[in-house]
């Protein structure tokens, strides 16, 4: 029975596969977290920064977004080493993904902030709020709601992009799967299985995003 052999093999390989999942999740979570924090900074700089800063950051995001993620991953691993920044494959990979993530989140944040009508800031000023207060209580909460769907999308993209780290030898889920396939030759089954796992993770992220969206939606 094909199916029985598949599950037997799967059971035998459960430890490396679980480790692979663990690494994939770690990469994704770290990249999304760091990328989001950086991205908020990027978005703020693009929206409120003084002109030189805005140009600088605009250059950064345009450059990063115009570069394939794979190139970022390879550059982070091979090129940074030549300028004395020696990162292991895991660190280099996470850095590349975080940078990629930050440029996308930056654009999303900028778009959300700029779509808030000017009257909101003016009304906040008129009651005597300072800019940090205006941001914290008026602009931020509105931007957050707008950002959410696109941010969930980006997060899911990061999970998919984490597979690229297999190329520089990070033992994440895809690399573990490929190792397993090279031993068992059950490529169809295990690629399908890995695909299913990625889908499950992203489906979970998407459901979670929908849930938060519903919870924070403004009554009208």
């Amino acid at each position: 029975m094909e199916l029985v052999t598949f599950f037997e093999t799967l059971w035998l390989a459960r430890i490396p596969i679980l480790k692979g999942i663990g690494v994939t999740v770690s990469i994704s979570v770290l990249a999304i977290l760091v990328g989001t924090v950086l991205g908020i900074g990027v978005g703020l700089a693009l929206t409120y920064g003084a002109r030189p800063l805005r140009w600088l950051v605009r250059g950064y995001t345009d450059f990063i977004r115009g570069t394939p993620v794979l190139v970022l991953v390879l550059a982070s691993y091979y090129v940074l080493g030549t300028v004395g920044i020696d990162l292991g494959p895991f660190q280099a990979g996470v850095l590349a993904l975080a940078v990629f993530c930050s440029s996308h989140v930056g654009e999303i944040v900028r778009g959300a902030l700029q779509s808030i009508p000017k009257g909101q800031t003016e009304a906040a000023k008129a009651i005597g709020l300072t800019f940090p207060q205006t941001f914290a209580y008026v602009l931020g909460p509105q931007a957050l709601r707008q950002v959410l769907p696109a941010w969930v999308n980006t997060a899911a993209e990061m999970v998919k992009a984490s597979t690229l780290l297999s190329i520089i030898g990070v033992a994440e889920l895809l690399l573990r799967t490929q190792e397993l396939i090279s031993r068992t030759f059950m490529s169809l089954e295990f690629y399908f299985f890995a695909g299913f796992l990625y889908f499950a993770v992203n489906y979970g992220i998407e459901r979670f995003g929908r849930y938060v969206e519903r919870k924070t939606s403004i009554p009208s």
């Binding site: 909101q120 009304a123 906040a124």
Partner: protein, 256 residues
């Protein structure tokens, strides 16, 4: 100290090369209700926005209760005050906008409470009871937990007025607060403003509602191309305009 609530001296405002306020002088005393009328583009909105520093201005001075707004002059150089200081000064006036500008993610009560808690430093329960008092005053006691998206335009504007008034400003600025409303919702908002006027609130209001201006104002200012074209008590202004321009403007306005 002159004892005036508001004192505007030779106010000049430019957008780039275009001068839109060309030397405006205006004084008002505590309790005055002044309507500003004039054709579109004459600088009415800009004048109000300068008073609470939503716009910068390049010349002249604005004082509220003797305190110079927005700028300070030391050793002959004129400098914008610190943002914190400007924020504090903005809270001396309240403003209601044509487009209401309520915070859509907060209930009516929360809209009113925000400034009370964050600017005035009130406790939340204290702020809530002040907010409820004012929402009651504008006839929205039962709607206090509704969100702006769940209210009509007239109701939203009344919440916006409550939000401004609750801060206990020395002076209220109203910029065409009924212009964005459906005709049947105009009166509920005008009534709220009339009640405030009767209670002695000092206000400066830009309006196209001539009958309302006539009834509510202690003085009327006619703005014309960035200057005050004529001013006086409503009776004189509306019945015996002294300038060609005002006569012309009144002819094209409707009294209803």
């Amino acid at each position: 100290m002159t004892g005036n609530l508001l004192e505007i001296r030779d106010l000049h405002k430019r957008y780039g090369d275009v001068e839109v306020l060309k030397g405006v002088d205006c004084t008002m005393a505590q309790g005055d209700v002044i309507s500003i009328i004039g054709s579109s583009g004459s600088g009415k909105t800009t004048m109000l926005r300068c008073i609470n520093m939503l716009e910068e201005f390049q010349g002249g001075s604005i004082r509220i209760d003797g305190e110079e707004i927005g700028y300070e002059t030391t050793g002959g150089t004129r400098r914008r005050k610190k943002e914190k200081e400007i924020a504090r000064q903005r809270a001396m006036t309240g403003m209601a906008f044509q487009q209401f500008n309520l915070f859509p993610h907060m209930s009516a009560a929360e809209n009113v409470m925000l400034g009370l808690v964050k600017v005035k430093g009130m406790r939340r329960d204290e702020a809530r009871s002040v907010a409820e008092k004012w929402l009651d005053r504008v006839g929205l006691a039962e709607r206090r937990d509704r969100f702006p998206g769940q209210l009509s335009g007239g109701q939203q504007q009344r919440v916006a007025i409550a939000r401004a008034i609750a801060m206990n400003p020395k002076l209220m600025l109203f910029d065409e607060v009924t212009s964005a409303l459906d005709p049947e919702l105009v009166n509920e908002v005008l009534q709220v403003i009339k009640d405030l006027a009767r209670d002695g609130m000092s206000m400066l209001l830009v309006t196209h509602e001539m009958r309302f201006a006539y009834e509510v104002s202690s003085r009327v200012i006619f703005m014309n191309q960035g200057r005050i074209g004529e001013e006086g008590n409503p009776r004189e202004m509306f019945l015996k305009p002294q300038t060609e321009r005002l006569a012309e403007f009144l002819k094209t306005s409707t009294f209803n």
